[in-house]
């Protein structure tokens, strides 16, 4: 649930990057952190293991400045992707306004993508929300890899509700901002 503080004239929205392990959620945040103007971003905070896998979450606050007199802030989070950490993902999803589901385009990862999306649906429904109406965009990541599945096939398995979807290579940047723009506009539209 977004927060509008009328006295401080502030709006806060929470966006969570969700998806299976190693699909590129943290990489998305790192790219955004590296590219947005200094005045817009806060520190990128990571709670990771020694091997740099996300243990709890990454957190990147973005301050979009004043729009029509309201200071608008987006808080971007990732979740740990490994199957084992479902409880942690539930914790990070608390109070979420919009989700980016990052899917790994590699052929061998299709089943993990499908399972992770099913788990997300279950966790959103547990919050009392309808999954198909929930603000969500898909990102098909790692499109540059030779074993990437064709987009129509990924649509067939991952996009039954025709959510907006974006092709990306988070490591080198293409598609990262299109995805962020996509979810930001949906979240703002739902305020």
């Amino acid at each position: 649930m977004a927060l509008i503080n009328v006295a401080a004239r502030e709006i806060h929205c929470k966006i969570v990057y969700y998806g299976p392990g190693m699909c590129g959620k943290t990489t998305n945040l790192q790219w955004i952190h590296g590219q947005v103007p200094q005045a817009t971003k806060g520190d990128l905070l990571s709670i990771a293991t020694e091997t740099e896998r996300t243990l709890f979450f990454d957190f990147l606050p973005l301050d979009l400045g004043k729009v029509r007199g309201f200071q608008t802030r987006f808080h971007l989070y990732t979740v740990p992707g490994q199957v084992l950490y479902e409880r942690t993902r539930v914790a990070v999803l608390n109070g979420v306004d919009g989700v980016v589901f990052v899917a790994d385009s590699q052929k061998s990862k299709l089943e993990e993508n499908v399972n992770s999306l099913k788990e997300l649906a279950r966790n959103i429904q547990k919050q009392g929300k309808k999954f198909q109406d929930f603000p969500l965009v898909l990102q098909y990541n790692k499109r540059d890899l030779p074993n990437a599945l064709p987009v129509p096939l990924m649509d067939k398995y991952l996009n039954p509700f025709k959510w907006p979807r974006f092709e990306a290579c988070a490591a080198s940047g293409p598609g990262v901002f299109d995805t962020l723009k996509g979810i930001s506009k949906i979240v703002i539209g739902k305020l």
């Binding site: 649930m1 977004a2 927060l3 509008i4 503080n5 009328v6 006295a7 401080a8 709006i11 806060h12 929470k14 955004i32 590219q35 947005v36 103007p37 817009t40 806060g42 520190d43 905070l45 709670i47 709890f56 979450f57 957190f59 606050p61 973005l62 979009l64 400045g65 729009v67 029509r68 309201f70 608008t72 802030r73 808080h75 989070y77 409880r87 942690t88 539930v90 914790a91 990070v92 608390n94 109070g95 979420v96 306004d97 919050q127 009392g128 929300k129 309808k130 109406d133 929930f134 603000p135 940047g173 901002f177 962020l180 723009k181 930001s184 506009k185 703002i188 539209g189 739902k190 305020l191």
Partner: protein, 166 residues
């Protein structure tokens, strides 16, 4: 407007923000604590009072809400509904965290000069006052366009296009 109340925003009107700040102010004064924060369960800071030099409240908010959400999952594994309060003890500073009506998280930071028992009693009193405020905020149902103006969305989209690019 979205029909699902879960998807609409929580709009805190100015008079309620003043009351929230009064509650935090009193909590810090009466406990002799250093800093009090009121967070939304999503980790966003609604109000804070105390040490003016604290620059890290945004990160603190995200981490404390994360701690609380994580403890709730631990509670479920123990077949508890949730833990209403959490205490974290440091060498110099301590944290006491309380959940308010499943929506807000009240945190007070204090040092060894303050007795934990006093914090427990006063945070309970503050929680009850904040719970009443939250109930009013939930019921006030202000319409977004009255607060933000009808053209907010278009202006916001322009800003997003301007900032989020390679």
């Amino acid at each position: 407007m979205a029909l699902d109340p879960q998807l609409t925003s929580l709009i805190v009107p100015p008079d309620e923000t003043t009351r929230i700040e009064d509650v935090l102010n009193r909590l810090v004064e009466e406990t002799g604590g250093n800093h009090a924060l009121l967070l939304d369960k999503s980790g966003q800071v609604i109000a804070c009072h105390g040490d003016a030099n604290r620059q890290d409240t945004t990160a603190l908010g995200a981490l404390i809400a994360g701690t609380f959400a994580s403890s709730r999952e631990v509670a479920k594994l123990l077949r508890e509904k949730d833990f209403k309060m959490l205490f974290q003890q440091g060498v110099r500073e301590n944290l006491f965290i309380a959940l308010i009506a499943d929506q807000w998280i009240l945190t007070i930071i204090f040092n060894k000069e303050t007795h934990i028992g006093l914090v427990k009693v006063l945070i309970k009193k503050a929680s009850e006052e904040l719970s009443a405020i939250l109930q009013r905020v939930r019921q006030s149902r202000r319409v977004r366009d009255d607060v933000l103006g009808a053209s907010f969305r278009t202006s916001m989209e322009d800003t997003i296009d301007l900032l989020f690019r390679d």
